[in-house]
Symmetry: C2
Subunit: 375 residues, 2 copies
């Protein structure tokens, strides 16, 4: 099977995303290529920050591959799960990194191996250790592959909200091995599909059709279908990020489903609901909001909801177990605290047709209350 290479065009900070099967064993060679290291380059150090869950599965092969490519390699473990994505974990990883002997230097490479939690936190460590180190991302979840791994957003959570502490720090390369998705628990796998639907709705009607046409192969995690699905999604994200690195314009479209989604996550607790499930609810509500304002046809709205449901994603709170329904007032209040909110005015991304969306700055509490009713 062919490996697909998708460039993220960011001028001096451009990098490639490779998507394929059985790629992790070639990470060392990929790292040398991503860092432009010729055969006679002096040896560099690498530190793999690996998620505690995936480390036993892949870290050995990743470390071996880096060693073979002449990186003096060490490994640190990142505790798994969103509740650990804190400043405390960050400080502890930073401590581990800065106490390595021999000490790291500015040419040390950080490799993030794991899901979005790992790449968010490892990326923030890379952004701030010695004021910025090179880093690579090896996402091992579908969600991280199509979402967190491209774009250079790094962060940890704070009790006041998700991702409130962080930095923009582009990686030097991203290596996506779809074989790592084979071991994902079903709920985590479908979490990633939510972001795929998001990309389709805001940008690419053909992707929506591809997903509708390949639902079975996607759910069965057919390798070739996954490579195609991930590559298409990465290309969309790469194009948006390249056009708007610092999230001043189009990149905001990627927040489709996330304004209400983040509010739901904050209110029910990150440990009770997957990110993709929350975004799925957020997209359902946003589509309904768009419909109620006359922006989107009822049929288009239903088509999105149907695809989400067919892929196994929740479109109602009743689809979830043990998740209390937050009040619309609470949702509105949290939305006002969102870091994308400007001067207290809530901003939402709404689809205006399948494959296109726009930014709306005139969202009212009543809009939100009515949209959230469908959940």
């Amino acid at each position: 099977m062919t490996t697909q290479a998708i460039p993220v065009e960011l001028g001096a900070r451009r990098y490639d995303v490779h998507v394929g099967a059985n790629l992790l064993a070639g990470l060392g060679a990929f790292a040398r290529q991503a860092l432009d290291l010729g055969g006679d380059a002096p040896p560099r150090r690498a530190v793999v920050l690996a998620d505690a869950t995936v480390a036993p599965l892949y870290a050995q092969s990743v470390v071996a591959s880096l060693l073979e490519a002449d990186f003096a390699t060490r490994q640190l473990t990142v505790p798994a799960g969103e509740p650990n994505k804190t400043l405390t974990t960050y400080a502890s990883l930073m401590d581990g990194l800065l106490r390595l002997t021999p000490p790291i230097d500015r040419r040390t490479l950080i490799v993030a191996l794991g899901g979005g939690v790992t790449s968010d936190i490892a990326g923030f460590v890379a952004a701030t250790a010695l004021r910025g180190l090179d880093w690579l991302v090896c996402p091992t979840t579908l969600l991280a592959a199509v979402d967190a791994s491209v774009g250079g957003k790094t962060a940890v959570d704070h009790p006041a909200g998700k991702n409130l502490v962080g930095a923009f720090h582009q990686p030097r390369g991203v290596l996506i091995d779809v074989n790592t998705f084979a071991t994902l628990p079903h709920p985590q796998f479908v979490d990633g599909l939510a972001e795929c639907v998001k990309h389709a709705v805001i940008r690419d009607r053909a992707l929506l059709e591809f997903m509708e046409d390949h639902t079975a192969a996607i759910i069965q995690r057919d390798e070739e279908t996954l490579v195609e699905l991930v590559a298409r999604n990465v290309a969309i994200k790469a194009e948006i990020v390249a056009g708007d690195e610092r999230e001043a314009g189009d990149r905001a479209l990627l927040n489709f489903g996330h304004t209400i989604g983040h509010a739901v996550e904050t209110l029910v607790g990150y440990e009770r609901i997957g990110h993709g499930a929350a975004v799925s609810l957020g997209m359902t509500a946003a589509c309904e909001l768009a419909r109620s304002r006359g922006l989107l046809e009822r049929e288009a709205c239903q088509r999105v909801t149907k695809l989400l449901a067919t892929l196994g994603l929740p479109t109602k709170f009743d689809d979830l177990e043990n998740v209390p329904r937050p009040t619309t007032t609470d949702i509105w209040n949290v939305m006002q605290r969102d870091k994308k909110t400007q001067a207290g005015q809530v901003r939402m991304i709404l689809p205006v047709m399948l494959g296109a969306a726009a930014i709306f700055d005139d969202i009212t509490p009543d809009n939100v209350a009515r949209a959230v009713e469908v959940l």
Copy 2:
């Protein structure tokens, strides 16, 4: 007296440094100008992060000025002193910032009011809160004015070394009010003079002569002399930073005196020696090293040492009270851990004549041992 405006030319991130007397009361107007806010711009929030020592002296006037300029302003206090420049203080300030009500948003302005410790840590908060907020620097020490305030370096210390955790994050403007230097204890004032000598030695022989000619006025903190001294120094730093924002080339010259200086600080403890005193020792040793390698005339070397001593800076460990002399082996070992060290090879900046310096990558333990002997 005229206020001097020095531009820091960083393309889209360019900003101005204003140097003058009695400027703090005009901070609000300066902030609107620095942020390009027209008369009809929507109101913004500001959070002043003020050093605990200077807050009682200036924070009230600063906050009043921001309020008058239509910034909804709050104040947080930064504990004073280098020992507090830690990830713990950072986390605590971030916590205070993110718990403000109403919550901050991406348009919130951070104002750092204090010395280098405050601007380093407040800048790191600004760099990483909501992935980056606008910030202004109001340095209240001579050291911060001519060193930390320009260039966008932000950081906190780690037990493994100084400034190991941080980010590059340029401020939107710098306001230097030389009146704030009037209240500085003598040792802190002369700390700043060390950086002035550094700039002169690496870049500007005329500045060296200016300092030699105005030693008395400088020591008496004559306002007009200070404005001239600071403006000349800021111009040098601004020019170097503009040419090399990420410290790949010429910016490294600013480390003159700092490689050995940092090692000394690490070994004797940040609480026992001022940064400028450590740099003064570092410059003395670096000049001696340059002399012993035949790069610098003995007379030039003596002229630097004499200026340092005349300004009240230490050029020997015996000039300091209660500071144990570290062993040369310890100094060398810490130098190898410096974050500017590449692949274990110690790098130093050495003067090649008065007003010019270069980077040397072939420093040996013996070079350092012999140079440190003069201290």
